[in-house]
């Protein structure tokens, strides 16, 4: 009883429209269920002469709620009849209609089931009437098609054309329908009729106008789209043999920016942003839905994907409201239809090799460079000339003189990768199954580093009655990441390219060298123990769809997924030696075992209903539904050190006094209602309205609900009568426009999601050691604001779609303006507050840009080819921050792009002491020498140059966000060969290099070959300034300036595939439908101006935010060569 007031309260709060909608929905259902006497109470008037039976059916369907259900072959619907009844119940009309035939009917509510009289055995009768049909299947150029499928509709019977394109099939009656299909062509359905020879011509399937595209909570014909939706088919994805889905998406959709930032096995997923960075502090990633359920696109086998839809504009995405601010990616997995069982295998094997790696100096170069740096600083020579001479004459013996090529010892040039995927598809009228099992393995480029993934997907559909379908989908995954226990692969690779070459790595007697203070990355990667992370995932989804009458469709689904993250590592220290003497055991903290377990649970419920109807020229469709989402997570971990016995690595074997453990949990939930109305008139004038109401537990009750509406219109100009004269040239022309609002609440700080951002909390974990015993301490670390609510964005989109010359050329162009308002952010507050700032809804920014896609498809002789070019741009401007600024090496302020590089302007080098004496300098003048970077004095406290270079002289240096992203996808087929080439690139992007990446001797490290080109009195226009030991920020050369900002623009040959499909006639003998072999190469060639050794696409540092590039740890991107095959039985 307690719940009632609460319910009533909530009832009032839910927007009225939702309630009206829901009410309608249930009223409709109840009426339907209770009024079973429709057929008795309804009367009809039918006056039709010289019409077919089918016409009569149609007429009745249009003028009543009756629906006729029948098999074409069972009754002759083309029989000409006259019907003349007035105000009669349905059975009277039907009796009249079927008088004197062997047809009977039953009425089930509104459903009229028409069939042969039961005393006439249909099947046996039909069997007696078997007809053989023969013919040739050809393409539009008259070439026979070998291996085309001919299936008798509604049966399991099917044949394949031979090498001349001929086929022969037995059918039941002249009403039988043949379904003829072949990959790359539009499937055709032909009614046999009275013919016995049936030649069929298939047209190549260019992006067909009949194409259906998956949109939010449904599908839609592509021609009727009014928003900006990009559809990507499985064909385009799977031929890349990319390691995961996000990487495969790169360049396939304009306006979708895909940045791969790491080549680490299992972590090489790309970051995706749609139409620019959509938020300052909230999530900038699109919502990814796999069959309607939020999921992880990189963990599914690409071969199971049927299609991907990218909803780019607000109108398309707003039915997902709150979560859709950054666009939506809808992944639809394959399902089976009524078809014979087919087995497909796709697999490849290949190897990965780093695209770029810094090239470190050798021992002699290193020592000479250090001495030069010392003398540049007026400091003592570190390495005596004697020692260098010894290296030159005697070389290194790795006992008295060390030289270690860390990069060569640690990084393997080639790492194995392979993928295997087996799918089974098939089903009858009642039940059909798509099953896929796949295994993927990727070896890393350092020892003890690899990734594997096993996935199993089962999509089952069952038809329970004519009007009800149910389905169960199961998705099981287990992936495992292995890496060395003591250090991350990124850090090991960083050490491999920056460790001092005269440190000991492997001693001549086979013992481990002392490295840097015992840290020996060779030993770390090979013997320091393993860190293993396994990630079991189980996703279940069940759904029921009912179609009680024509046009009405209702679906309810429930999905539950559990993602676990189990890691454990055991650090196994190694002994290091130098000069034949034991030095230390590393790490000195000794053995350590950690086991951690985390779990994310997600439960989603979705219910929706839609009704569509065509009334004369008007078509309309109404959709309404609700969605709930509840997520929770918990984690637990435990550690011990002090393991005394080798091989016993369970926590129990460690020193109990060192045992520690941690645990926590979180949860959040969302409740949503959505609705959509589509209307089109004469297939020319299109209108779509969307509305979504969302409530998130991330906000307090009074600020919880958000409403996100949108509207879009389209005009298919080419369908207008006045367009007819040029329709031969311009086959299709559509103009679209949309406007809508989206929300965002997915707040995170440094990648950590904030589940209770409104709350002022005191966190534990701030202990201190009184009397040597750790006591628990707690503190508040953030200012709170319980009034925060939704971050909202609005987007205006206008677009045009065009097809020319028999759809050979098609183009699509969109322009959009996206405004993000009420941004959830934590304004930088003075550090003296001692807490981080509260979340606020404040500030706005704008992304405006355009997407262009142009495709050309044609054939020259026997060569089919196609070209698709994509080009897009997005420009970000922060429009309102209430005068506040975020300043670091990046600045976010009004009027400039988000996160622009911010620092000093360089003006070459100081070439002489005289020049220093007469110029403004940064820092202390006594400290500046010739060969230092000269900075420009551009301003001062009063806005004019004041002769001092200090913080007033900082300015915008560049923008790290990519602009003018382009791609070119070319493909061609000739006989049995296929070829594709994919170019991709970025026209403008600025990379700031810092830290280990570009600073010689940074924190005790070495330097790279290209840094040998440093300033000396005789090398005055060197690439690097005066060589100094000090790589830290206190060296005036190392402060952020445009000197260290380089263009990150690039163009790269992303992918090349050459395939060969074996001739059908050969395969037919061994009962194989299709067999194709291919070789593929990825990241083959790159044009760029970035620093040598660093891939322009790769994030050189993973310590700062994922997309910015600075020095530090990174895992290089990979060039991949694979050999693969696809086979279908």
């Amino acid at each position: 009883m307690e719940k009632i007031p609460c319910k009533l309260k909530e009832l009032v709060k839910i927007p009225k429209l939702v309630w009206v909608m829901c009410l309608l929905l249930s009223v409709n259902l109840f009426t339907y269920a209770e009024n079973n006497s429709y057929s008795q109470t309804t009367t009809l008037t039918v006056k039709m002469n010289n019409k077919t039976v089918k016409d009569v059916f149609n007429y009745i369907e249009k003028n009543s709620e009756f629906i006729f259900v029948y098999y074409d072959y069972a009754i002759d619907t083309k029989r000409i009849v006259d019907v003349n009844v007035q105000n009669q119940p349905i059975n009277a009309i039907l009796n009249e209609l079927f008088k004197g035939t062997d047809v009977t009917y039953t009425i089930n509510n509104r459903q009229v089931i028409v069939k042969k009289k039961e005393n006439v055995p249909v099947v046996s009768k039909l069997q007696q009437q078997t007809i053989e049909i023969t013919g040739i299947v050809k393409d539009n150029t008259g070439e026979p098609i070998i291996g085309a499928n001919i299936i008798l509709k509604g049966s399991n019977t099917g044949v394949i054309t031979d090498m001349d394109g001929r086929y022969a099939i037995k059918v039941l009656s002249p009403k039988s329908v043949l379904v003829v299909s072949y990959i790359g062509y539009i499937p055709q359905e032909v009614t046999v009729g009275n013919r016995s020879v049936l030649n069929i011509e298939l047209s190549p399937s260019t992006e067909s106008l009949d194409e259906v595209v998956v949109v939010g909570y449904g599908t839609q014909k592509k021609v009727n789209l009014t928003g900006s939706v990009q559809n990507i088919s499985n064909r385009d994805l799977s031929k890349r043999s990319a390691s995961n889905t996000s990487v495969a998406l790169q360049g396939l959709a304009p306006g979708v920016s895909v940045v791969t930032s790491s080549g680490r096995p299992g972590y090489d997923g790309a970051g995706i942003t749609i139409r620019g960075t959509g938020s300052l502090n909230s999530s900038t990633s699109p919502l990814v839905l796999i069959d309607g359920v939020e999921g992880y696109m990189n963990f599914i086998d690409i071969n199971t994907i049927e299609s991907i839809s990218v909803l780019k504009d607000a109108a398309s995405a707003s039915i997902y409201g709150s979560r859709a601010s950054n666009g939506v990616i809808l992944i639809t997995t394959k399902r089976s239809k009524e078809q014979p069982i087919k087995v497909t295998y796709s697999g490849y094997v290949g190897y990965n090799t780093p695209t770029e790696l810094p090239d470190p100096v050798n021992a002699i170069e290193y020592m000479e460079a250090v001495n030069l740096a010392n003398s540049n600083a007026g400091a003592n020579q570190t390495y005596s000339n004697d020692l260098i001479e010894q290296y030159k004459t005697l070389g290194a013996d790795n006992l008295n003189r060390y030289e270690t090529n860390w990069r060569k010892e640690i990084i393997n040039d080639k790492a194995l990768t392979h993928n295997h995927s087996v799918s089974i598809t098939g089903g009858s009228k009642d039940i059909s199954v798509f099953a896929n099992a796949a295994y993927y393995y990727q070896d890393g480029n350092i020892s003890n580093n690899n990734y594997d993934r096993m996935t199993l997907r089962l999509n089952t559909d069952a038809r329970i009655t004519d009007w009800m379908k149910v389905g169960v989908d199961v998705n099981i995954r287990q992936s495992k990441v292995v890496r060395p226990a003591f250090d991350t692969p990124e850090s090991i690779i960083n050490k491999a390219t920056t460790f001092v070459p005269i440190f000991s790595g492997i001693n001549s007697d086979g013992t481990w060298g002392y490295g840097q203070n015992g840290d020996n990355p060779i030993a770390t990667s090979k013997v320091s123990g393993l860190h293993t992370a396994t990630t079991p995932e189980l996703g279940l989804k069940g759904f029921v769809t009912i179609n009680p009458f024509k046009g009405f469709d209702m679906t309810a689904s429930y999905s539950s997924s559990r993602l676990e993250d189990k890691t454990d590592f055991f650090i196994n220290p190694y002994d290091t030696y130098e000069y034949g003497v034991y030095k230390t055991t590393f790490p000195a903290t000794g053995t350590q075992k950690n086991e951690a377990w985390g779990q994310k649970m997600s439960n989603e419920f979705n219910a929706q209903a839609s009704y569509e109807k065509q009334i004369k020229g008007s078509y309309f469709k109404v959709l309404g539904g609700m969605h709930t989402s509840e997520k929770s997570g918990r984690s637990f971990d435990a550690t011990r050190t002090g393991f005394d016995f080798i091989g016993f690595e369970d926590l129990n074997n460690g020193d109990i006094a060192t045992a520690t453990n941690n645990g926590s949990h979180w949860d959040w939930s969302m409740l949503s209602y959505f609705s959509r109305i589509n209307y089109s008139f004469k297939d020319r004038y299109l209108l779509e309205l969307n509305g979504r109401w969302d409530a998130s537990s991330r906000f307090m009750a009074d600020h919880r609900w958000g409403f996100f509406p949108s509207a879009s219109v389209g005009w298919r100009v080419s369908e207008e009568p006045f367009f007819n004269p040029i329709k031969d040239v311009v086959n299709n022309l559509k103009i679209r426009g949309s406007y809508g609002t989206l929300g965002n609440q997915d707040i995170s700080i440094n990648g950590y999601e904030q589940y209770y951002p409104y709350a002022a909390t005191i966190g534990s974990g701030y202990g201190y050691w009184f009397d040597e015993v750790l006591g628990s301490g707690a503190t508040q670390s953030q200012v709170a604001n319980d009034k925060i609510s939704w971050e909202k964005s609005t987007q205006m989109n206008v677009g045009v779609d065009l097809d020319f010359v028999n759809s050979k050329l098609s183009a699509s162009f969109d322009y959009y303006i996206r405004n993000i308002n009420n941004m959830l952010q934590q304004f930088p507050i003075p550090r003296y507050v001692g807490l981080s700032s509260a979340w606020e809804n404040a500030g706005s920014m704008r992304n405006n840009g355009w997407d262009l896609s142009v495709t050309w498809r044609d054939r020259i002789g026997k060569v089919n080819y196609h070209l698709t070019g994509n080009l897009s741009d997005v420009k970000n401007t922060v429009t309102n921050l209430y005068g506040k600024e975020y300043i670091g090496t990046q600045i976010t302020r009004e009027g400039d792009a988000l996160g622009s590089w911010y620092g000093y302007l360089s003006d070459g080098y100081f070439q002489s002491q005289a020049e220093i004496d007469e110029s403004p300098v940064y820092g202390t003048r006594a400290n500046v020498k010739p060969g230092y970077i000269k900075y420009k004095d551009i301003s001062g406290p009063d806005g004019i140059a004041d002769g001092i270079v200090n913080d007033y002289d900082r300015t915008i240096l560049g923008n790290p966000s990519p602009r003018y992203e382009f791609s070119l996808n070319m493909g061609a087929e000739w006989n049995n060969f296929d070829f594709s080439l994919f170019l991709q690139g970025v026209g403008k992007k600025d990379i700031y290099y810092a830290g280990y990446g570009v600073r010689p001797f940074y924190v005790g490290r070495s330097m790279t070959q290209n840094q040998l080109d440093n300033w000396t009195p005789t090398n005055t226009d060197a690439a690097f300034p005066l060589l100094l030991i000090d790589g830290s920020g206190s060296n005036a050369n190392n402060i952020i300036s445009d000197f260290w900002v380089k263009s990150g623009a690039y163009m790269r040959v992303k992918n090349v595939v050459i395939g060969y499909t074996l001739p059908k006639n050969l395969l037919q003998k061994i009962k194989i439908d299709n067999l194709r072999f291919y070789v593929s190469g990825q990241n083959l060639f790159t044009v760029s101006n970035a620093y040598k050794g660093y891939d322009p696409e790769c994030a050189v540092s993973l310590t700062t935010s994922g997309t910015t590039v600075s020095g530090g740890n990174f895992y290089p991107l990979m060039q991949t060569f694979t050999f693969g095959m696809d086979i279908r039985f």
């Binding site: 570190t382 009184f770 750790l774």
Partner: protein, 601 residues
Amino acid sequence: MKNILLNISLLIGMGITVMSCSDFLDKTPTDYSSVGFYQSEAAVKTGVTGIYNAANIDIGYLCPFNVYMDHFTGLAMERAENNSIGAGGALNADNGNVKNWWINNYVIIARVNSVISGSTPYLESLGGSSKQYLAEAKVLRSFAYYNLISTYGDVPFYSEPVTADQYKDQRTSKVTILDFILSQIDEAVVDLPWIAKERGRVDKAFAFGLKARAALLGGSLDYGGKAKDYFTVAAAAAKSVIGQRALAANYDDLFTKAGQAKADVRNETLFELMYSDQGIKKFHWVGFGSVSRNYGQTGRHPSAILADTYECIDGKRIDESPLYDPKHPGVNRDPRFKSTLWMHGDTVQGNTKGTDAGRIKFVLDVFNPTTMFYNFTTSEWYAGTNADINSGAAWTSFANAGVGYMWKKFSNEPTESITATTCNIPLMRYAEVLLTYAEAKIELNELDNTVYDAIDQVRNRSGMPKVSTDRIGNQDKMRQLVRRERKVELILEGLHFVDMRRWKIGDLENATPSYGYPIALVKDAKGYIISGGYADATPDMVPNFKKSARHDLNDIANYDAYKDKLKVRDKNRFWDDKFYLFPIPTEERDRNPNLTQNDGY
């Protein structure tokens, strides 16, 4: 079918109704709510522990701030030449240490403000030791403000949680803040015991000691023209501690794990950063970053100016004592020389593993590619490679990047692994209070027996003679002595960093390159020393302390006369008076442009 449809619609209807209920969307945060949190003793205790957590400021690599900061003076140096503050241009507004020091102290203050204001409504009902904890918090806030005004001068000042309308505030006068510190401590001491029951907590002795330390700053820098007042406060505050605590018997015990277990060391140590080798360990790298390349990393080194400040055992400065021998600078010296420093010829004991197998014992050598090592299994000495001279990283060693001296203080640990030492790091010792008392009284020119006694206690403990009769009644000579004592007694405890600023001797300490041991003049083909070095040092190789009266007063050695024979580094060393204050970090001024910058930056 009727039923199925009915059920489905019922289900959906129910779903909608149930989901509409706010329960579904009300999630409770998993952390404690800050509203009304501090209303129990346990909560106050937890919150105050969180303040201590912030007080262990680590601005270097696992190196407590106070140890680190003395390397920004002329008495010590960081590994990279011309790089430490005062030795080059590293001190600028973008310097990371300068920024972190600012942030960390304000985090302490914020935590104190939040506990104190959060518990204020419940003060009456809070029982047990709550008042003591809150008093500790107030002292810790004073400590943080002392850190700030002593390094940045005027700074933003708050004794309540900062509100949004204060984000554009200006700096508050250091005098105002100093007066707050002094009054806060007076308020807090009422609730504190003279010696804390739980080691690591603030007690009355530390509170008064801090008051003395802060007032001495105000006196030395003549805050608000009230130098005399502040010296008087300093003397009085220090005096109140005198007699309440006592010096430990053995100076060496103060800085080793084993020694710190003794009751007399606990009694002398007024406040310390706590480390632990028990359960969840807490260790530091003070030793690892200081010792020989033969078993450590060597990032920080003592200077010769410091080494030459130690008197000879007769109580005379080395340029004045007949006992000083340039061939053997370590002989006949103030015993604290050997307690604090290791040098060429000394036998060093350490450990790399924390087990018997990790023991290392060898002879320090600044010249030769091999040196003698002790084999614990065979109990024999053998010649092994000397990594301080002959290794890829030898350039970082005390012989190359240093000037021949190595920190023994906090590093002398033969049983714990050098990479995980757990001796506590004192932030205030009774010895400092004695010397602060003496200095304040000397500056007030109130030279009486209590002054001599305070200094004598410190000197006698280490076996040094009493204040010599020629100094009695002589303010300048007493000033010289008390400064000398503060350096040799307290080096590496973070005090000289502020002392150098109080005494305005940055220009003296940092005027020349750093000089060191007598270098090898001739070496053989294998790199062994033939001539030069300590063996060939001549009697005239005694530094000049009398380059100026200020040099003399502050015991600043000058090596110009024989500098060519000495190890040298920091050739570009220079001093700029702006270094007496840190710059306000750029980031902070970006966030609040109303904060003015210190002069010269």
